[in-house]
């Protein structure tokens, strides 16, 4: 037994990698569904968007790179589809370098999905065509996000005289009479980096618009103070947050699917922590005994 714990303490990390990948593969090919219980901070975002009347503009900042694809892309899918199904307009901006590619990819996929008639939360939504400039306006990317956020507070046309596709904002139907943050119902920042800090301090603080966040799992705890202070009205944290949102909009997608892999992987990590600690205590006890002799 002592020998077992001794070997456990010296376990090569490649065995850990192998064990984790085997668990992930088994979980991925197995057919089961993880029960999801939405948290209050996710529900508030859903309820806010759901309560908006048709025609309102929701601004979505796609501030993440492909690194955060697994956690944040499902949030984009779920929120944008919810907005379009409810005939809300979406104003999209992207303040990270690879964000426009992510937004472009998401817009194409969601546009395809909208073409089909689907039922969400018991309500049938007829398939329809999504029109650029009418249903959404994609502003694109500009460097120096702090300056862009401040500039948009005065007029969207200052940092973005044209949209991503080169069309002047003034000739886009959706942007008629839309000047700055005062004309959008809320801003939802989906971010995998410190751009969120700037949306809070330069955006929400200065221009006082309702702000919600979609963050990677590791970032989430860092932004709870803003939820407590009311500067942020909702937070979706990591893949679980995305899965909770998918559950609320009744649109199971990549996040619900990803949870089937993430949950067993987390359990494996917890088990490794517990086993490592048992080995540590046994090892310490043995050393104390040996010193006592």
């Amino acid at each position: 037994m002592i020998n077992f714990f001794d070997r456990l303490m010296r376990l090569d990390r490649r065995w850990i990698f192998l064990f984790l990948i085997v668990v992930c593969i088994i979980a991925y090919v197995s057919d089961f569904d993880v029960p999801i219980m939405p948290e209050r901070e996710v529900e508030t975002i859903y309820e806010f968007v759901d309560s908006l009347p048709p025609g309102e503009i929701v601004m979505i900042a796609i501030d993440y790179d492909p690194n955060n694809l697994a956690e944040l892309h499902p949030m984009t899918y779920a929120i944008v589809e919810q907005c379009w199904r409810k005939n809300l307009k979406v104003l999209i901006t992207s303040l990270s370098q690879n964000g426009p590619g992510m937004a472009d990819e998401a817009l194409r996929s969601i546009t395809d999905s909208l073409a089909e008639t689907k039922t969400y939360n018991g309500q049938v939504y007829e398939g329809r065509e999504v029109v650029n400039g009418v249903d959404y306006c994609f502003l694109g990317y500009k460097p120096y996000f702090a300056l862009v956020i401040l500039g948009m507070g005065q007029n969207f046309r200052l940092p973005f005289p044209e949209d991503y596709y080169g069309t002047p904002l003034d000739s886009i139907p959706m942007m008629q009479g839309v000047l700055n943050y005062d004309d959008v119902a809320c801003v939802i920042d989906l971010s995998g980096g410190n751009i969120t800090d700037y949306w809070i301090s330069y955006g929400q603080n200065r221009f006082n618009f309702p702000l919600a966040l979609g963050l990677t799992g590791v970032m989430t705890a860092q932004y709870y103070p803003y939820l407590g202070s009311g500067q942020v009205f909702g937070i979706m944290g990591g893949l679980l947050g995305a899965a909770q949102y998918e559950k609320l909009v009744d649109n199971a997608g990549l996040a619900r699917d990803g949870m089937r892999v993430q949950l067993p992987a987390h359990i494996v990590i917890i088990l490794f922590i517990l086993v490592g600690n048992i080995g540590f205590f046994v090892d310490r006890r043995n050393r104390h005994r040996a010193e006592g002799r």
Partner: protein, 271 residues
């Protein structure tokens, strides 16, 4: 004089930026917007400098045969390839000489690196670079199956640009990031130990917060864990994060004042 002018400029612009934040007057806004434009202009020069720097570093790696020097070619081919695909697009489904044009440009870059890195016999790579460049220019002039687009809808919808982004860039970056899970598992196993009281508290708190996501506990246990984890996030975590944020905020103000008043001069290259 060389040191005083930058100090005066920083003082003036620093004070103005503080002033304009609290004065939303039309003229103040105009100056502010004018200064924002300057930041973009300076940024564009920085971008060009960055590309040039990457090119020079790559040449140096090839020249001195540093570890993994061969990847420098891949880096430069990726950089210039993506720039090309971003600025060019085909008109229809025909390929024409498009891919040969791209190959010619990339070979020009590679041959120019080869020429700069070579200690002797620079003539051959230089001649080849010139030849490939000539080929690229001729194709650009005479091939009408594709065109250059600078920041227009056609350029941004380029199939090659999208394909490279969707099928190469996205999977590569997502894969690299997902490797983190394996390192976290290994690190957690080795380092997350209850060595003393504080480490034990951290370990217990982490386990509770992680377990709140576990949906298979019974109703009572699940609710208890959810309540405890919610308390952990909203009380101790919130307090610690607020302290950090306030500390960082005060630090930023102090550093900004030191820069504006000329006490901190690191940005000029010397302390």
């Amino acid at each position: 004089m060389k040191r005083q002018v930058p100090l005066v400029l920083v003082l003036l612009f620093g004070l103005f930026m503080i002033f304009q934040y609290f004065v939303p007057h039309e003229s103040s806004e105009w100056v502010y917007e004018f200064l924002l434009d300057w930041i973009y202009i300076i940024g564009i020069f920085a971008l060009a400098l960055g590309i040039w720097s990457l090119y020079v570093v790559s040449v140096d790696k090839v020249k001195t045969r540093k570890h993994d020097w061969g990847y420098s070619y891949v880096t430069l081919a990726g950089l210039f390839g993506m720039i090309l695909f971003g600025f060019t697009a085909r008109h229809g489904d025909e390929w024409g000489w498009y891919l040969i044009f791209v190959a010619c440009v990339l070979l020009t870059v590679i041959m120019s690196v080869q020429a700069m890195a070579a200690r002797i016999n620079k003539g051959l790579p230089l001649g080849l670079a010139g030849l490939f460049l000539l080929g690229a220019v001729l194709i650009a002039v005479f091939d009408d199956t594709w065109s250059f687009y600078f920041y227009t809808q056609e350029g941004l919808q380029s199939t090659m640009f999208r394909a490279f982004f969707d099928y190469i860039m996205m999977p590569i970056l997502a894969t690299i990031f997902s490797l983190l899970a394996f390192f976290i598992a290994s690190a957690a196993y080795r380092a997350f130990r209850a060595r003393n009281l504080l480490a034990s508290l951290l370990l217990i708190a982490a386990l509770i917060v992680m377990m709140r996501f576990f949906p298979y506990f019974g109703e009572n246990v699940g609710e208890f864990i959810a309540r405890v984890s919610s308390w952990l996030m909203n009380v101790p975590n919130l307090a610690a994060q607020r302290a950090i944020i306030i500390g960082v905020g005060l630090g930023i103000v102090a550093t900004a004042l030191k820069v504006i008043l000329g006490i901190e001069r690191g940005y000029m290259g010397k302390g």
